[in-house]
Symmetry: C2
Subunit: 464 residues, 2 copies
């Protein structure tokens, strides 16, 4: 595309540096996909702003020209959130990647949206602090806020929403707001922090985040416990929670997934349904929790349990867990991954996973099951040849079946990945008339429908 042929490109190039505006094929390609099975689609233009003012300028132009705007972090989304099906301008936040301020005494940090969680944690470590949310992927904090991400530590520290003290947001008209403040709590007006968190770029662009951080725990112990069946492992988790043990992480990895991890991560974990656990706390309290947990897992037929107290062994364990999705991708070249994401009340989790496994077997698909089981959230990992219609159909049937099951028992179609394009079809069933409220919010706050259009909601005004 030549600049002269495109007035939008021309205008953007007039306002930003040459290297901040791109229509290069490789760059467009890089912004045409995420880590999911959803089909690719190119944006018209990719821009790389360096500050909020530039984001505001870009969005004002988009507003005036009714051009779609897609905020882009690192493209680790799993439901097509960042794929520009309606074309338009993709705003890549990789140049807004500064840790702006660390307020040690307040346990707060201010960051730009392009900062990744590992980058932040490296910075925080110098202060004896850490950022708790850990979705596995080394996503950007802007992206994690946009999808209300969570992950392994949420059972103790909460999800992304729980960490957000303030967001700077550029609205669809180019104006900039702050959604919160620096205080620990507030009852001052409607909760805009939570409204923009999880809004998936459909209401505005996050340009700065003030996040809650934590002191690195005095003591950390990780453990790996293997069980005869997934059911035993899940029941053990329910008992641990019932006992009031303050667990920091509790992850289920089923037998096929342990096998995949061993292949990829060079581990020799017993190929059985396994819980990866972690405890944080002061030494005597933690020892008490660990001893109590050992008793509980034994009651649930645990076959062996290993405790990892030193950093290296602990890191290896969590690395193996985090690399699981990549292990599946790596082990299935040419295929794409579908990661399902239902979340159910904890009392329903064992049944939900049983139903999931049965459905996998019935449909004859191949899938591993892992989960943040302390939250009632489990993922099935399905490798799909997207050119094989039958395979795609079966994967979709599976996803529909487990979503249906989750909704029936009071759960949700997505515990942490968000809606994007992939889960929109389930929202009517999940939310009923509340979906009208969401459509009304979208229409009111993005009246021209330019912000990440046709994601999360349809953009058609609701009936209320």
């Amino acid at each position: 595309m030549k600049t002269s042929e495109n007035p939008l490109l021309h205008e953007l190039k007039g306002l930003l540096r040459e290297d901040q505006v791109s229509v290069n094929e490789t760059v467009l390609e890089h912004h045409s996909k995420d880590e999911s099975y959803h089909p690719e689609s190119l944006p018209d233009i990719v821009v790389f702003p360096e500050n909020t003012e530039e984001v505001s300028t870009i969005i004002k132009i988009a507003d005036r020209t009714h051009t779609p705007v897609i905020p882009f972090g690192l493209g680790t989304s799993l439901e097509g959130h960042v794929i520009p099906y309606d074309k338009g301008i993709t705003i890549d936040f990789s140049q807004m990647n500064k840790v702006v301020e660390i307020r040690e005494k307040d346990f707060l940090v201010k960051v730009q949206p392009g900062v990744t969680r590992s980058q932040l944690n490296k910075e925080l470590k110098k202060y004896g602090l850490f950022f708790s949310v850990d979705p596995g992927a080394d996503a950007t904090l802007g992206g994690m806020a946009a999808t209300n991400a969570s992950g392994t530590t949420s059972v103790k520290y909460g999800v992304m929403e729980d960490q957000i003290r303030d967001l700077e947001v550029v609205l669809p008209n180019g104006e900039t707001i702050h959604t919160g403040n620096l205080a620990q709590k507030s009852s001052s007006g409607y909760n805009l922090n939570s409204l923009y968190t999880g809004s998936e770029g459909t209401l505005g662009c996050i340009t700065e985040l003030t996040l809650k951080v934590y002191g690195i725990p005095e003591n950390i112990v990780a453990a790996r416990a293997s069980f005869p069946t997934v059911n035993d492992a899940v029941e053990a988790v329910v008992s641990i929670l019932q006992a009031g043990i303050s667990i920091a992480r509790v992850e289920l990895v089923d037998e096929p997934s342990i096998r995949q991890a061993n292949l990829f991560s060079d581990t020799e974990y017993k190929e059985k349904a396994t819980l990866f656990l972690e405890f944080h706390g002061n030494e005597p309290g933690l020892n008490h929790d660990v001893a109590f947990t050992e008793e509980i897992v034994a009651d649930h037929y645990c076959e062996e349990v290993f405790f990892e107290k030193d950093n290296a062994a602990r890191n290896k364990l969590w690395e193996a867990r985090h690399n699981l999705a990549y292990a599946y991708v790596h082990g299935n070249p040419g295929k794409k991954i579908m990661v399902t994401d239902v979340c159910v009340p904890i009392s329903e989790l064992a049944g939900a996973i049983r139903h999931g496994r049965e459905t996998i077997d019935e449909l004859g698909v191949e899938a591993g099951i892992v989960g943040h089981v302390g939250d009632g959230n489990y993922h099935a990992l399905l490798m799909i040849d997207t050119n094989n219609i039958e395979e795609v159909k079966k994967a979709n049937l599976f996803n529909e079946a487990i979503v249906e099951y989750a909704l029936k028992c009071g759960g949700t179609c997505t515990g942490e990945h968000g809606v994007g394009i992939g889960k929109m079809k389930y929202l009517q069933k999940e939310h009923g008339k509340a979906l009208d409220v969401m459509e009304t919010l979208k229409a009111a706050l993005d009246p021209k429908g330019i912000m990440n259009p046709n994601k999360l909601v349809s953009g058609k005004r609701g009936s209320i």
Copy 2:
């Protein structure tokens, strides 16, 4: 008012039982005020629905007739939230006071909005569970959700918003939605739980709540520590938090307030700046935390510290704390109470309280200071003769001064009481353009402006 003279009253009486619709002077009077200094104003009619369908019916009539609707719990609000300045129908939820379901294994409870927190805790105790949010007043859970209440335990368990899994809400058009689900977490669409929590009845009526509850801790220890100055006490709290001690409650009560408590609660606490603390946990972990805390408070010149391990002494301590506002009211007959409510980042708390005390002295008003200091939230309790213009003026000047100070250091004008009528004047300064977003939300979700009008926001559409 005769039924025949008022078609609205006539219609309501046709749909509800005789005793569910009242224009009785005493009943109207009872619904004309809250616990604050804000002037009274009578509603036209008070209704007492018994279920969601009746609430829906009432609101459909209000919608059709453009009649203001004011949801009313127990009238314990502190900023005039429930006072019907625009007249209309007050919906009293006292007949919707059932604990609907306790899901022990899921740590969830479903309640009607008129259930009070003490009523709920009495019920939960049978299951070894408790509901954590404790604002002092025995408010209804509907009211607590509407104001995003918090209180003494929020430093550990979070505020009202953190406990809300689902709300049933009757919208201003009479339709009913559910804002969430029963899963521990969700990324499914805009966060309606948090939007309706703290919306103070301005977007709809809460008719059912599903709330997170907790296992009663294995061990609880309370403590009372007195310090030479408020500043020493606050600095001790900062150090406790810095040390990573998991504290369940930490309340500041200044010297004048201890005096008031001793008078009212028949205690003989040392008349010094005092921290009331509480620790929850397993025995060895808790003992470790308690010992560490003793060291820290000693470093901050603590003069004496008492630990209360048995239930009776502990309850007496928290009763004295909870009754403080009533102690002030009781000790100042004929006066009304203004309870300020700023919240600041914890690093700014000592300065904010010092500034508050200096301003009290400068203006020559009388006030005690108490606070949920672990959250950076403090209250000044001012007794006002509302007929004395000079006294009212000084109280308002004081409130303005401390709000100004809080906003300057990144805080909020209200940590937990909400906006109501009393804090509206500060919202422009606190939120800037974000207030336009709030006005836009109100206009979109309550287009006729019938829900608790002229509270929280003006109801005039924002400029976005």
